[in-house]
Amino acid sequence: MANKLNPESVRQTKALMDEIRRITTKPWNIMEICGGQTHSIMEYGLDQLLPEQINLIHGPGCPVCVTSLELVERALQIAAQPGVIFTSFGDMLRVPGSTGDLFSARAQGADVRVVYSPMDALKLAQANPQNQVVFFAVGFETTVPAIAASILHAQKLGLDNFSILPANVLVPPAMHAILQSPDNRVNAFLAAGHVCAIMGYHEYEPIAQKYRTPMAITGFDPADLALGILLCVRQLEEGRAEVENGYPRYVSHEGNKTAQAMMAKVFKAVDRQWRGIGLIPKSGLGLRDEFQAFDASIRFDIELAQLQESELCIAGQVLRGLSKPSQCPAFGTICTPSNPLGAPMVSGEGACAATYRYHKVN
C-alpha cells in the first residue's frame, strides 16, 4: 500500500510552515503561476496552514483556462469536419466555446479523442492515412518540446494528414502583463517547476528586477510548495527581489538547451489572446513559416461566427487575481464543474474548479 504522503514529507512541510509563520510580519500576496501548483495547494490544503497575512492568488496558470474562445470555437469547427480525428489533452474537452464543447461535438458525431502526448496523435495519423489528424496544441512551455518533436517527425515522415492547432502560451509575457496592470496586487510569484525544467529561469531575472518582485521556483509536492512560499516571504520581508530556485533537483538556470533549440526551430513568438485577460503581445507560440503546412488553422479555412462569452462569468477577473471564485454570482450555483460557464471551472487546475472541489464546505 502506498501512503499519499510519507511521514518525512509531512514533517518537512510542517517545519517549513512553522518557519513561514515565524518570519511573516506583514500581509503579502503571492501568486502561483501554474495550475498544477494551484491543484496541489488545494489538494493538500496548504493555504489552511499559512498565517493569515499570506494570501495565495491563483494566477492565469491553467493553459486550458486561458485558451481563447476563438481557438476553442475553431477547434470545435475543425473537429466537426468530415474525416477529421481531433485529438487533445483530456481537460480541453469540457471547455465551453460559444456553441458547446468538444464533448458535445463528439456526441454529434465528431471523432474527438483524448491523447496523452502529441506523439500519440502522430501515430494516429500514421495508422489512419485516410483521415486528417489534428492535435490541439495547448499548454505552457512544458508541452512545447514534445509538440515540436511531433512536427519535426511528421515532416521527416512526409505525413500530410497531421496538423496542430497552435494555442501554446508563454509564462514571461503573462508575468509582464500582470505586473504592469494598474490593478496588480501581486507581491511575489511562485514559478512553475516543470516550465523551468525546460526553460531554465534566466528569463525571469530581468522581470524580478524590473518590477521589484521576488520569485521562487517550486515543485508540486507540499514540501516543495511550502519551500517556495518560504523563499518568497523571506525575500519580501528582507526587501529583496530575486529569482530563487527551490526545485534544484529538476531545474537549472539555463534549462534544457536541446528542448529549447527544438522549440525555436519549429515555433516563433506571436501575439495571443488570453481568455478573460485579453491580448498579450508575443505571449503565444505559432508555427514558423517553413512549418505552416502543419498549421490546422490554415489547413482548415474556417469562418467563425460572432463569439459570445457568458455574461455572468467573471473568469477574467479570477484569472487576473482580482476576484476570488467565490465572489462570482454564478459560482457553485449556475456554474459548476458539470456545467461550467467559464474555463476556470473546467480543468482540475482551474481556480474555480479547484475552489469548488476542495473548499465548498467553507
Binding site: 500500500m1 502506498a2 501512503n3 499519499k4 504522503l5 511521514p7 509531512v10 512541510t13 510542517k14 501554474c34 495550475g35 498544477g36 491543484h39 488545494m42 489538494e43 493538500y44 490544503g45 496548504l46 489552511q48 496552514l49 493553459p63 486550458v64 489533452f89 483530456g90 481537460d91 474537452l93 469540457r94 464533448f103 483524448v114 496523452y116 502526448s117 500519440d120 495547448v138 499548454g139 505552457f140 512544458t142 508541452t143 512553475a192 516543470h194 507540499p222 459548476t336 464543474p337 458539470s338 480543468s347 482540475g348 487546475e349 469548488y356 472541489r357 476542495y358 473548499h359 465548498k360 464546505v361 467553507n362
Partner: protein, 358 residues
C-alpha cells in the same frame, strides 16, 4: 408409404452448414441459427433446470425456488466495456459480478440472474464463447444461476461488439436494515481493499497508459464475503460498492442519503503503489477510479474492529481498512483529512474523469 414418409421426415443434410466463425444477423432471428446458438453455446455453458425449461419465461415457485418469509431484492445493470478483455477480467465476469454485487449491497443473497446479449453482426464466436464461459465461471463462484436469457443481433456498426445486460434476483431477511439512509453519527467507515485497480487495468487495456503495468482489475463477486459478514454482524448500517465514480462519489451519495457528514483519513485509504504511480503520472485521482470488487461498509463503532477482521479473513478483503467516520456535520458532505492535518471537500465526479495537462 408410411415408412418412406417417416424416412423423409428424418431426412437431414449429411453436411449441415452449422459452423460459423462470427455472429450473423440470423443468430438473432429466432430461427434455427438462434436455436443452435442457444443449445450449443448458452445452454452448454450456463444451462440449469430452470433455464432449460425452454418456455418464454422462467417459473420460480414461492416456497420452492424462492423461500417464503423473505423480502425480494432485484437489481439490473447493463455492461459495456472497451476493450472486452482486460487484465484480471472481461465483460462476461463483469456482467455477473456487477449485478450480483448490487443485489448483495442490500444485504441480500443473490440467487438468480437473467441476461440479455446485444451483439454486433460479425462479432467472433470464439470471443462470445470465451465471454460466456467466463460468465459461467463467475456465476459458479457466486453461486447464482442464469434462469432466462435473450440474444439480439444488430447490423454491423449499429452496436459495438457486445453489450450484456443482467438482472439479479435475491432475497434477504425481513429484519435487515441496510441502506444508504441508515448511516448514523459515530459509525465507522470500512473499505474492503485497495481502490483504483479496475479503472487502471481497463485504461491499460485501452492502450491509454502509454506504458505496461501488471495492475489487475479487482472484478469479483462479493456476495460470499457479505453473507459471512452479515451472519456475524447483522448490525451493519450501509453497504455500497464503489464502482463508477469511485470511492468519493459513492460516499458523497451516502452523505446525501443520510444527510450526515463523512470524514475520511486520506492516509488510511488503501491504494496500491503501482496504481498510485499510474494515477500520479496521468493526473488521475484514485478516489474517483472505478472498482468492481470492493465494498464500503458502515457500521456502529463497537463492531468495527471485529467486522474488519472478518473482512480481512476473506480473500477479497485482505487489505480492508477503517478509513473514516460518520459525523452529524457537515451534513450531506464528504471531507478528506490530509496527512498534514488540513481538510478538503470531496464532491461527486463531474462527467468523465479527464486527465490533467500538467
Amino acid at each position: 408409404m408410411e415408412e418412406s414418409l417417416s424416412n423423409l421426415q428424418n431426412f437431414s443434410c449429411p453436411m449441415p452448414i452449422s459452423h460459423h466463425e462470427t455472429v450473423l444477423i440470423g443468430h438473432g432471428s429466432g430461427g434455427t441459427l438462434t436455436h443452435d446458438l442457444i443449445r450449443n453455446l448458452f445452454q452448454k455453458q450456463l444451462g440449469n433446470p430452470i433455464l432449460n425449461q425452454g418456455n418464454d419465461a422462467a417459473l420460480l415457485k414461492l416456497g420452492q425456488e424462492i423461500p417464503e418469509g423473505m423480502d425480494l431484492v432485484v437489481s439490473t445493470d447493463a455492461h459495456i466495456v472497451s476493450p472486452l478483455f482486460f487484465n484480471g477480467g472481461d465483460i462476461g465476469r463483469l456482467s455477473i459480478c456487477g449485478t450480483v454485487n448490487d443485489v448483495a449491497m442490500l444485504g441480500a443473497l443473490p440467487k438468480f440472474l437473467t441476461a440479455t446479449f446485444i451483439m454486433e453482426e460479425g462479432f467472433p464466436l470464439t470471443d462470445l464463447e470465451r465471454i460466456v464461459s467466463s460468465m459461467a465461471e463467475a456465476a459458479k463462484e457466486a453461486g447464482v444461476q442464469i434462469i432466462a436469457a435473450d440474444t439480439k443481433v444488430t447490423e454491423k456498426g449499429k452496436s459495438d461488439k457486445i453489450f450484456i445486460s443482467t438482472t439479479g434476483i435475491g432475497w434477504r431477511k425481513k429484519d435487515l436494515q441496510i441502506s444508504g439512509q441508515n448511516a448514523k453519527p459515530g459509525d465507522l467507515v470500512i473499505l474492503s481493499g485497495s481502490i483504483g485497480n479496475h479503472g487502471i487495468a481497463v485504461a491499460e487495456a485501452r492502450g491509454n497508459l502509454g506504458f505496461k503495468s501488471e495492475i489487475k482489475s479487482d472484478v469479483a463477486p462479493l456476495n460470499g464475503m457479505i453473507a459471512e459478514l452479515l451472519k456475524n454482524f447483522p448490525e451493519v448500517h450501509v453497504l455500497r460498492d464503489p464502482t463508477r465514480g469511485g470511492l468519493a462519489t459513492s460516499l458523497v451519495e451516502i452523505t446525501c442519503q443520510s444527510q450526515l457528514g463523512i470524514i475520511l483519513e486520506e492516509n488510511a485509504i488503501p491504494v496500491d503503489q503501482d496504481v498510485r504511480s499510474a494515477c500520479d503520472l496521468l493526473g488521475l485521482d484514485p478516489l474517483y477510479m472505478a472498482n468492481e470488487g470492493k465494498l464500503i461498509l458502515i457500521l456502529p463503532q463497537e463492531f468495527a474492529k471485529a467486522a474488519l477482521s472478518c473482512l480481512q479473513n476473506h480473500p477479497y478483503g485482505i487489505n480492508a481498512a477503517i478509513i473514516g467516520r460518520v459525523e452529524e456535520k457537515p451534513a450531506g458532505q464528504l471531507l478528506l483529512k490530509t496527512p498534514l492535518g488540513t481538510s478538503r471537500h470531496l464532491d461527486m465526479l463531474a462527467g468523465e474523469m479527464l486527465p490533467r495537462i500538467c
